[in-house]
Amino acid sequence: MSPTLFTLGVNHHTTPIELREKLALTADKMNAFCERLSHLAGLREYAVLNTCNRVEFYGLATTAETVEQLQHEFCAFQGFSGAEFAAIRQHALNREAIQHLLEVSSGLNSQMLGETEILGQVKEAYAAAQTRHSVGPVLNRVFQKTFQYAKHVRTTTAITEGQISVANVAVDLATKIFGALAGAQILLLGAGEIGDKTAKAFQSRGARSLTVASRRLERAQELASTLNAAALPFEQWPAHLADFDIVVCSTAAPETVVTGNTIRNAIKKRPARPLFFIDLAMPRDVEPTAAEVENVFLYNLDDLAKIADENLAARTAEVKRAREILTEKANTLWEQIAAKFSPPSEPASLTRDVPLDRCINK
């Protein structure tokens, strides 16, 4: 019999986080399981995509039974019920398997639509498979073409344009004001979770100089140590405000923390350089009239959420176009592979077992 291209696994679309946690492969488990797979008869090629949202196997199997055997081995290895896995699994064959990989790599299948991190994870999965020598001519071609097509979709559609999380929207706005963030001085007012997330988003985009000020100095020091930042006693921040470019406010104070006058005094000391306030607190920390001050830019939580929503809507509007492009690419690639490697038509047992609309994630 000729081999069959397949994908089999679970992801966030049908599998809740509690089950994904049970099925996730740690580095040690991954090595151990791949060792088992290397002895699985009929499995010619395979790669494993293991992220926080999915565990998916991509492979070339001699028969449909080989795929079932892989599923059995995986459930046994993880101590997971085969019946339960069958209820949540997602798998697809041949052209649909290629289409699935293309959509995953392009971010169409991601929890955060259009995110780009997934392509790097797919590349890592492929690199690991190459290191294990578990990929051959078919998967090599499929993965290499996938990277090319995913990039094509990103550049020809707006699927990845605009940030869709509040923290990343704030960072994007900061780059519109300051350009490169490496030299920007950032002050976190408040040491809560949202401030922490925003600080990390800034660091991921090159920001190096962070200072944390909180009413509880020990909390400020604690967060500062995790962020590799400096801590500032809360009562001192107004005196140092002019030294900062970006101020992320997320205190739990019931009243305004940053007044318009404080901002006016600070901007007088640095009139040529803008001052950007990101007010993530509820109730708001920054007096709204600050937005009227020349060279001061103020965005609150609602403003950022609105931008994120608009960006998400714009990405969603592009999904249909992106999927059409990928369908065309999947067809072409499948025809090439089918012609070159002559795999058979889809095994009856698998196609009957899994309706097509379940094969590809919506």
Binding site: I177, R273, A291
Partner: protein, 281 residues
């Protein structure tokens, strides 16, 4: 090359600048970033054709082709474009190519579409100093720098408007950052002021030897433009003229500089028709 009239070369140049402007406009209307490669190709092509046209002009008038209002506008557009081609890749300011194509297309088309601007040519005094040519070319080149400064100032104001009013999508999403624009504005203002100072210094040396050769209105208008830019630069360096006020000042001053070209040209004492390739058309 010489078989083609200079105005034909300049029409080609204007068409390529316009093509760059159309390319950028279409991309922006579709909310896409325009192709940087194609923009460069169009602007380079326009620049090459304009250089050919102006070279023919220069050959005909035996000097720098700045002998009437038509040539002054053409030379200003050429200066701004040559500067963009030098600094564009260095600063990588998105949309600057688009704005430059817009400015150059406007200046070249307007000058080509007003025949009266090209009907009279100032005669050159036989044996006149090459320093005068240098002075005039340098002064016009500084106008090109100020033209580019006006464009980056417009971009600055648009970016501030975008961020203050939270209009961030479409056209606005392609604008460079405020800080980057502020830096380039300061550099262009400095460069333009230095070039114009040098140009006027050369002109001054000539003028003290022959005070009748320069109309008083020219001295007054040119000196005012130079003083205004010099004051703007000093106020910027001292932290007094900043942000939007500086940007508006640079735009208003460039418009005034363009108008000053007309005033200077009309103050010429003895306009004389000179045979150029243009008359062959």
């Amino acid at each position: 090359m010489s078989s083609i009239p200079d105005r034909t070369w300049l029409w080609f140049a204007a068409t390529f600048y316009l093509a760059g402007f159309v390319l950028g406009t279409v991309a922006l209307l579709r909310e896409r970033r325009h192709s940087r490669t194609w923009m460069y190709i169009f602007i380079w092509a326009g620049f090459v054709f304009q250089t050919c046209g102006l070279a023919l002009r220069g050959k005909a008038v035996h000097g720098c082709p700045i002998s009437n209002l038509f040539e002054l506008f053409q030379f200003t557009a050429w200066s701004a474009t040559s500067l963009y081609l030098v600094i564009g890749p260095t600063f990588r300011l998105s949309l600057l190519g688009y704005f430059n194509a817009c400015l150059s297309a406007t200046l070249t088309f307007v000058s080509l579409l007003v025949p009266v601007w090209d009907s009279i040519h100032r005669a050159r005094t036989p044996g006149s100093s090459p320093w005068i040519e240098f002075h005039a070319a340098l002064a016009l080149f500084s106008y090109g720098v100020f033209g580019l400064l006006a464009l980056t100032s417009i971009m600055y104001l648009l970016q501030v408007f975008s961020l203050k009013r939270q209009h961030l999508r479409g056209f606005f999403s392609f604008l460079p950052s405020i800080v980057d624009l502020d830096h380039i504005n300061l550099r262009l203002l400095t460069a333009g002021a230095v070039l114009m100072t040098a140009a006027l210094s050369v002109g001054y040396v000539h003028w003290v030897h022959d005070r009748d050769s320069v109309p008083a209105i020219k001295i007054l208008v040119t000196g005012s433009i130079w003083a205004a830019y010099a004051v703007a630069l000093i106020l910027r360096l001292r932290g007094i003229l900043l942000t939007k006020r500086l940007a508006w000042t640079c735009i208003v001053l460039f418009v005034a500089a363009l108008f000053s070209l007309g005033i200077i040209e009309s103050s010429r004492k003895t306009p004389t028709a000179v045979q150029t390739a243009a008359s062959h058309e």
